[in-house]
């Protein structure tokens, strides 16, 4: 069967079409068109939707809703999302960023999906027509997910509390050895009062570094203060081994890079 693209005005109709076997949702094309080009014959039908809400960004106070079809380039250039620009720019080169969508990034297997790492640190929720799901739950179940993602939603952190680091071997555009996103809240004395740390490439999909988060609470962001968090950074990781790096290497350098991010 040749590939066939069906375009629908509403997400509802797209969701109905996606019930057919062999169909995949077409976002920016960077994942699914590539798969088809490479001879993945399990993909026989593509479904997409032009519903306008998929392509809009809404910022109300510190509440942000990003439509699933919004591209990395749009996020990187959005005047109110400057905090996240670094994470959006971490995805691909300029052409890829003009195509790759925030919805697609949620499905990108490691070593891809750097923006999803940021979303995980932001504790975002993922919306479909059937409701909102915490991103961690969504990522855990993404392989079986069929419904069109309509948006991601999160509370925008203060600029100085969001940190992001992507480590790659090729510059300026290389895929990840690993990526780290962190949202840190600090008490007036500088000690960490709340922390969310998300890791890319340390499992087959973005994961939280909960042991490290816990070990940071009440600590100052100094070499000694973060030492327990670094010691716990690799707890529960199951890094991928790929042409970029082995699982061993990723685990070895995770504390080094986390330390540099926290002390930056």
């Amino acid at each position: 069967m040749a590939l066939a693209l069906q375009t629908f005005a509403t997400v509802k109709d797209a969701n109905a079409a996606l019930k057919a076997q062999g169909t995949r949702y077409l976002g920016g094309g960077t994942l699914v068109v590539r798969a088809a080009n490479e001879g993945d014959v399990s993909v026989s039908g593509l479904v997409t939707s032009t519903e306008p809400s998929l392509s809009t960004i809404a910022v109300a106070g510190d509440k942000v809703r990003i439509g699933a079809s919004v591209t990395m380039a749009t996020i990187a250039g959005h005047p109110e999302l400057g905090t996240l620009a670094k994470a959006a720019r971490a995805v691909g080169g300029p052409a890829i960023r003009n195509m790759a969508t925030v919805g697609g990034n949620l499905f990108a297997p490691a070593p891809y999906g750097d923006f999803a790492v940021a979303l995980l640190a932001l504790d975002a929720t993922v919306s479909t027509d059937s409701g909102e799901t915490p991103i961690e739950t969504f990522l855990a179940n993404r392989d079986g997910s069929r419904a069109v993602v309509t948006s991601v939603n999160f509370t925008l952190p203060k600029a100085d509390s969001f940190r992001f680091l992507k480590v790659s071997r090729v510059k300026p555009k290389g895929v990840s050895v690993l990526s780290i996103a962190a949202v840190l809240q600090q008490a007036p004395d500088g000690t960490v009062s709340a922390a969310r740390i998300a890791l890319g490439c340390m499992a087959d999909r973005p994961m939280r570094a909960r042991a490290a988060e816990k070990a940071l609470i009440g600590r100052s962001l100094t070499k000694d203060g973060i030492a327990p968090a670094l010691a716990a950074a690799s707890d529960g990781t199951w890094p991928i081994t790929d042409p970029i790096a082995s699982a061993w290497y990723r685990n070895e350098v995770l504390p080094v890079h986390l330390g540099r991010l926290l002390l930056a």
Binding site: L3, V33, N37, A73, M99
Partner: protein
């Protein structure tokens, strides 16, 4: 097999084609329209040789379905020179010896053109970033970076 109609503007000319649903823009341009300046180096989105400009944005034609370009304004390297006069970027690629095998050149020029359209006087870092999705295996990149910086200087001198 049912064909899908698609119309777009390519380098200033109106084009109308019937394509198989699911045909990439790269294949439509090369096989249907006959513009072979975008090259198929990977069909994965990892080499940039197929880069074109769609509605002012750099895109990879290998990952773009032709039927999603209905009504779009598309530019490719084959349409860059006007009346036989080379675009400053093309001139600069010649003058700085920035081409060897030439396979990556049309994609590089597209990436560079979008940069200069938005940032007429880019820094070296901005040039490096703009070219970062395009692979060259012959030159080691430096001559290409120099070509883009040379074209930017030529542009600013002409504007002055």
């Amino acid at each position: 097999m049912a064909k899908v109609p698609v119309q777009f503007t390519l380098n200033g000319s109106e084009k109308a084609e019937f394509v198989d649903s699911g045909t990439t823009l790269l294949n439509a341009l090369r096989d249907k329209v006959g513009d072979t300046s975008p090259k198929g180096g990977c069909h994965q989105g990892t080499c940039g040789a197929c880069s074109v400009i769609i509605d002012g944005e750099l895109r990879l034609s290998c990952l773009t379905l032709a039927e999603t370009c209905d009504g779009a304004v598309i530019s490719t390297t084959s349409g860059l020179s006007e009346n036989g006069v080379l675009h400053p970027l093309q001139r600069a690629f010649l003058d700085t010896f920035a081409t060897q095998c030439g396979f990556c050149t049309p994609g590089m020029i597209m990436a560079a053109k979008v940069l200069l359209d938005h940032t007429p006087n880019p820094s070296r870092d901005e040039v490096v970033e703009a070219l970062s999705g395009n692979i060259c295996r012959c030159t080691g990149y430096e001559p290409i970076i120099q070509a883009v910086l040379t074209a930017a200087r030529a542009n600013s001198q002409n504007a002055a």
